[in-house]
Every structure is written in C-alpha cells, then in structure tokens.
C-alpha cells in the first residue's frame, strides 16, 4: 500500500504543537511506515504537492499565513487543525482585542527596550491582518485536535483515526485547551 502523504504547516504559533507531535514516542516509527511527510517544518521541504492530509499548526495573522493555509487547503483532501491557535486563535489572538495599528505601535515603538523604533514597511514583509483568525474562519477545516500544546495522546488518536479512514473527534478524557 502506498504511503499516505501528509503536509504540515507552521503558521502563527510557537511550534509547540509540532514538538508535541514529536512527543508521540515510538508511535512515530509505526507512523513513518504508513505516512510520508511532504512539506513540513520537520522535513524542511518547501512548496506544495498534492497530499491526502494537511495539518495546520497556528492561527492566521498575516497575508502570508493566509496564502499558505489557502494553498494547503487547495492541495489536501482533509485538513486538520492542530493546537489551540489553529482551533480557536489561542495565545496569538490576545492581540485581537486591540486594533492592528495599536498592536504594531506597541510592538515596534512603545516597548521599553525599543530605541527609536519604527513599524517595518518593506516589500516582502507580509501585511498583518486586522485580526488573528483560527483556521476555520479562513478555510474549511475537517477535524480538530486542540490543546496548548495538544496531548501527544490526542495527536496520536487524531492520526490513527485518519489513517483508519475516519474523521477524528478527540474524546473528552484526552482533550485539553491548555
């Protein structure tokens, strides 16, 4: 049987979800027999090809991230949101109570350690979106594994279910939001 192709992307987040994914211990050996990782921060492959499962870690907070998640959605059959940021907005969504200008000013000008700061404007620096969005407010998401970071158990459960051809819903006992 051909290996299932999986792509993962790391958007606005801390990479903790990918780390928690690596925390599934020996399951990763079994997994590598069944799955081929394409584009992923782990493989460092750039560019998309068509995959069966797309996994998104992180929320969508700027133009580039929006483009990436749209591209991933375009190339995958099933999209899984991994972690609180992708599922709900998470820590990144802290800025959502303020407007974009106030956030940029605070980060680049007002911070006590900043001397003569200015807001970066240059071609290639992606524009911030007005808010930080969870993945499902930008594209259609098929399943979710929340947690900050998600329990390795929950990640394992999610992938096992997907490999078995089912859409996973993390059971209550291993679901965590923190």
């Amino acid at each position: 049987m051909a290996k299932v192709k999986v792509a993962t992307v790391w958007l606005e987040s801390c990479a903790g979800c990918h780390m928690s994914f690596l925390d599934v211990d020996e399951f990763i050996i079994d997994l590598s027999k069944l799955v081929e990782f394409r584009r992923s921060p782990i493989t460092d492959i750039k560019g998309f090809d068509d995959v069966t499962v797309g996994i998104v870690e992180g929320s969508v907070g700027n133009e580039e991230e929006k483009e990436v998640i749209e591209e991933l959605r375009h190339h995958c059959k099933i999209l899984m949101a991994l972690g609180d940021c992708a599922c709900f907005g998470g820590v990144c969504a802290m800025r959502n109570t303020l407007d974009k200008e106030a956030v940029l000013k605070r980060a680049y000008i007002d911070t006590p350690s900043t001397y003569k700061g200015k807001i970066p404007v240059a071609p290639g620096v992606p524009e911030l979106l007005d808010k930080v969005y969870p993945a499902n407010q930008i594209v259609k998401v098929d399943c979710y594994v929340p947690g900050c970071p998600p329990e390795p158990e929950a990640i394992k459960y999610g992938l096992t279910e997907l490999l078995a051809g089912r859409i996973p819903v993390v059971p209550s006992n291993i679901m965590r939001f923190d």
Partner: protein
C-alpha cells in the same frame, strides 16, 4: 406540599410541587449540565446549558427555571438537546476572550470542563474579541471581564449570601458587564472583600490574587476545618499544597456559618509576622537566645518555685485545650491572679446580665442564626464589618431579604448606615442617653396589650424625656421617635453591641441594652461581639478574674512573676508589654515575636490555629473543632502539651 410525578428520560421521577425541573432531576440522580445554577441561589436561567425538552413545549426550556408539574414528560439527553448545548457553549466561547492557555482557572473551570465533555474542538461562530478590561484594583480580588460568561453567580452571591450587593450587571445588551457599585473599580467600591464572588465564579473571571497559580484544586489536598479567628466559627475548606494553605473556601456558602469573610478567607494565607520556632531564654547579657525546651522549663520552675506572687494572663486566641491546661497550671501554682486579656469585657457583660435578671449568665445571649430570623436589628457601639464581618453580612441579609428594620446607632458612616431604617448619630460617649431615649420611644409606641406584658422592662425607661435627650445629644428628636416607632412592633428583635459599649466598662449600660432587647422581642436577644476567636471558651472556663483586670494593674497586684499565654494573638501587644514593666520574671508563650515577647525572660513557642487541633467556642457558645491544615514545625510542641510540661517541672 404535594408530591408530583414526572417522566424524565422515560423514568418516573418524584418531586414536590414548587420544585423546578432541575431540582427534580438532581434529586433523582439525573445529571443536567449547568453553569449559572448555584446551590442556594435564585435561578435566573442565564446560561441556557440546562436546556431540556418538555413534551408539548414549542422549544427547549431551561430546567433550572421551569416549574415541575405533575405528569409532564421531560427529555434531558436527546441528540437534539446535546446539539443545542454544544451550540450554547460555542456561543459562550465566542462571545468573550476565553483563552484557556493563559487563564488562571484552566483545570478548575466549569466552562472548560463542559467544553471537554461536549468535545467542543472548534467554534463555528465568528469570535467577537471584545476589548474587555481586567480590574485588579482590589488588594485580594481580580475581576477579568474577558473570561466572564455573565452567569450572575457572583452577583447573586454578593446579594443573597453576603448581603452586600456590591456587584451587579451594568450597562445593557451586548455591553452588559459585571460591575461594582456604580461601575467603580472594585478596589474603590464598597466591596467587603468576603471572596464569595470568586468562590462562586465558574470560570476565571473573578479570582483571588494570592491563590492564583499557587495550586489547582486537583493538585491540592483539602482539609475541612473551622476558622478560629473571630469567634463566629465558620466552616472552612482549606486547599493545601506543599504544606502551605493556598486557598480557603467555604464548604457550603448557603449554610449557617458557611459564609466566609475577608479575615477568614485571606488572613491565614499570609505569614503575619516573625515566627518563634524554638524556646528562648534571656542570657546574662540581657539578650533572648535560643535554648532547649528542657532549659526553658528548668528556668521557669526555678523562678516560679521562689516567686511569691504569680499572675497568669491568657488570650482568647488560644484553643480551649490550651486554656484548660493553662487553668490547671495556674491552679497548681496557687495563683489567684488569673485573667484573660479581654477580662474587662466579660466582667462588664456578666455583671450587666446579673443586673438585668440576676441569674442567666452568658447563655441569655442570642444565637447568630437569630439575626437572620430577626424582624428588627439594632446595632450599637459595634463595627461588625471590621471585627466580625459575617455578622455584618447576616445583618445586611436580614435587612435586605426579610425587610428587618435596622436601627444603627453610630456617629460615623459605616456599610450599614445606608441600609438602616433609622440612623442615629449621637456623639461619642453618652450611650446611656441614647439607649434610654430609644427605650422610652419604643415604650411610647408599644401597642397597649404588649405594653402591659413587658411592663417590667418598660418601667426602666418611664422617666426619660426623649425631647431633652435629643437636645443633649444634638440629634433630631423625630429620628428617635421614628426609631421607636419602627422597633415597637417587633417580635424577635436582636441587638448587637461591641467594643463601643464595652469600652466604658459599665455594667448598667449592658443591663439597659438587655431591657431594650426585651422590649423588641418575646425574650431579650442580644449578641455581644467578643474580641477573640475563643473569648467565650476562656470565659466559660472561668479564667476571668472576678475582681478586676489583672493586666491593668500588674504593677499594683504584687505579682513578681507572670505567665502569659498569647498563642497567635498580635492584638494590643504594645499595651500589654507596657503593663508588664513592673514584673520581675515573665514567661510568654506565643507564636510571633512582638513587644510582649521582647519583655519576656523565657519565651515558649506556640502553634497557629491552622497548625493545631483544638476546640474553639463561638461568641454564641457553640463549640467547634479545628483540624490542622498544615504540618507545623516538628520542633514546636502543642500549646496544651507545653503547659502540661511546665506544670510537671514545677517542684511543688
């Protein structure tokens, strides 16, 4: 109350007419998820988690507010209902900024655990991301509106249980928020800091500063004990982690003595002062140095053996066991000069009661529960909001809920005054004039039948001229007349008095208050606010000197030695230290360094009430037990044991 039968999930369930569907469900072991429901509070159906289907109802109804009727058919667990509940959760999560990853309540949050239960792994709605504030102006309580679900549990607790009604909903519709007073910062509001709000809060919207991030309930051991601080004897539920009390809750706020106050909830969480951990002995350079228990006992035995007069002083902070051992020690020493630090209060009260009816003693005093049942309350010379806040809550509850007539006699504004039917503002002193005038005014308004019945008591006031009294006090006569008018009809009025009366050491005043109390009830109901957690226990043991204060004239009373059992008492220590000047040899048994221990020749360490097992008698005579919440320093002996050891070492 007639019995009714409902069909819930196909099961026949019995209930009582007047129950809500939720109550019947809970009584029959059918679980219904709730958020805004809180035991003992009025249900307001704010959260919609408890939606159930009722046959013939057009749409799902909230079980907590739907009256159970005979024969209705209820479904609590259909697929449709479960779908609605998940929808409600998603709406709650998207309405404000519920971000568990950095919320203090994560792991101890009812909203979160419901979201887990309903496997809410995403929200289908647009997030509102409102710009909510966090109010941390209060020294102990933080209000984070980002996490609020507007269930109103804090508000109802503040109103129905604490009686303060500081919190309420402010603004309208989408902008509705919990606010204190007229939308003031909590720290500047009239909040009495009882902490009921954060105990009731199902999320992390209101939390205690000192308990935050110090341990979730799941990581703590919990201990059921009694608060021994002020003498009300409230039940407490302590959460302990790493041998530190991290949080104190009430096991059931709606029960009598279940409500907590600022003092009980927060004081034990702070280390108050310099702890004494070993016995200390004064060396020949005059410094207090560490020594062993044996050395300390020897030194005490040596001095006490040769001393001609030995006085003993005990604080009402010590447990009954310690006080009993203290009394035994003093008896062995043959000392007649034994007293408690608040002995004056006891003498004034008991002599006052003796003047009133000659016999009944302290048992004539009312129970705290009488306040809740009272139809009128007089507060005179007492500030329970500061000294016994739970009593203050009872008064405010009685005034708000039972419409009890509250008469406050105090020159200064306090949290009661705005709830008072009449607020009399006599100048400091002159308490006998105002009490007399009030008594006369009540007698004037008594219905003819009662007037004869309580003739004996009414006679006390018959010669008083209310007009003249008003003039003497500089207060409006109409106020006194009005106070008499509102109090005259009472059947079970309660009078609360405290240090403002007792400071005059005038037994006559206490007797007059009892007479006044007899006029506003079928029997006199008075409650005197005692200074220490176990004052009443010490008084009941007969530790109070009948003749007069020992502490006040230590210099005169020819005692060359003194044994002071201070326990964890830090009040008035300077005053006591000053009065110890003439004493040759002083032993002090205390938990903390204080001016008193600095005057001592031998200091013995003492446990805190949070560390020891003991009995404490409440101000209305109910004995309650404390259980050690934290493990004490093993080198410190229990108070009673120390005292017994001292007695054993005496040669006599």
């Amino acid at each position: 109350m007639s019995e009714i039968t409902l069909t819930i999930n196909g099961k026949q369930c019995k209930g009582t007419q007047g129950d809500t569907v939720l109550e019947v469900c809970l009584a029959n072991g059918i679980e219904v998820p709730t958020l805004c429901h809180y035991k003992g509070l009025l249900d307001i159906a704010a959260c919609r988690m408890c939606l159930v289907e009722v046959e013939k109802e057009r749409k799902p109804v909230p079980a907590c507010a739907y009256p159970a009727r005979d024969g209705i058919v209820v479904t609590t667990n259909s697929e449709k209902i479960e779908k609605y509940r998940r929808l409600v959760l998603e709406l709650l999560f998207t309405e404000r900024n519920h971000l568990c990853a950095y919320c203090v309540a994560s792991g101890d949050c009812e909203l979160q655990s419901l979201a887990y239960r309903y496997q809410m792994d995403n929200a289908r709605y647009q997030y509102a991301w409102p710009n909510q504030t966090t109010d941390s102006s209060h020294p102990n309580i933080v209000m984070d509106h980002n996490r609020c679900i507007l269930c109103g549990r804090c508000i109802r607790t503040c109103d129905e249980i604490t009686g303060a009604h500081v919190l309420d909903f402010g603004k309208r519709g989408w902008k509705t928020n919990v606010c204190a007073d007229i939308n003031q910062p909590l720290g500047e509001s009239s909040c009495i800091s009882c902490g009921g709000c954060f105990q009731a809060c199902p999320t992390g919207a209101i939390f205690s500063k000192i308990s935050a991030y110090r341990g979730k309930p799941s990581e703590c051991t919990s201990v059921e004990s009694t608060c021994a601080i002020c003498g009300i004897g409230c039940d407490i539920h302590g959460l302990v982690k790493n041998n530190r009390v991290v949080r104190i809750d009430s096991p059931d706020m709606t029960k009598p003595r279940g409500l907590l106050c600022e003092i009980g909830r927060f004081e034990p969480l702070y280390e108050a002062a310099d702890r004494i951990t070993t016995p200390l002995k004064r060396n020949n350079k005059g410094q207090l140095v560490n020594c062993s228990y044996e050395e300390a006992f020897e030194a005490i035995a040596k001095k006490f053996g040769t001393s001609d007069g030995i006085a003993g002083l005990a604080s009402g902070k010590a447990s009954t066991e310690a006080l009993k051992a203290f009394a035994d020690l003093m008896e062995k020493l043959g000392s007649k000069l034994v007293d408690t630090l608040d002995g004056d209060d006891c003498r004034t009260i008991t002599q006052g009661i003796a003047k009133f009816d000659g016999k009944s003693g302290l048992d004539i005093e009312a129970k705290l529960e009488d306040i809740l049942a009272a139809d009128s309350i007089v507060v005179i010379g007492a500030h329970p909001t500061k000294t016994h806040p739970v009593i203050a809550s009872y008064v405010m509850r009685a005034a708000a809920k039972n419409k009890a007539n509250l008469v406050v006699i105090d020159p200064l504004r306090n949290p009661f005054t705005f709830r008072a039917s009449v607020w009399l503002k006599p100048p400091e002193g002159k308490k006998e004039i105002i009490i007399g005038a009030l008594g006369k005014s009540i007698v004037d308004h008594l219905p003819a039948k009662t007037a004869t019945a309580s003739n004996k008591y009414a006679a006390t006031f018959k010669d008083i001229d209310v007009k003249k009294a008003g003039k003497d006090l500089g207060i409006d006569v109409h106020d006194i007349v009005k106070a008499g008018e509102v109090l005259a009809g009472s059947k079970n009025g309660v009078i609360i008095y405290g240090s403002g009366i007792l400071q005059y050491k005038d037994a006559e005043l206490v007797a007059t208050i009892l007479n006044l109390a007899a006029l506003i009830g079928d029997k006199p109901r008075v409650i005197s606010l005692k200074r220490y957690g176990n004052s009443r226990g010490a008084w009941d043991l007969g530790l109070v000197n009948a003749k007069g204060s020992v502490a006040a004239d230590l210099a005169k009373c020819k005692a060359s030695s003194l044994y002071t059992l201070l326990a964890d008492d830090l009040t008035n220590s300077q005053e006591l230290a000053d009065s110890m000047k003439g004493v040759e040899f002083a032993v002090v048994q205390a938990s903390y360094r204080s001016p008193v221990t600095e005057k001592a020749d031998v200091v013995l360490p003492s446990l805190l009430w949070t560390e020891s097992k003991g009995n404490y008698t409440s101000i209305d005579g109910i004995s309650k037990k404390t259980v050690p919440m934290v493990k004490a320093n093993a080198a410190i002996k229990a108070d009673a044991d120390t005292l017994k050891e001292v007695a054993k070492h005496l040669k006599k």
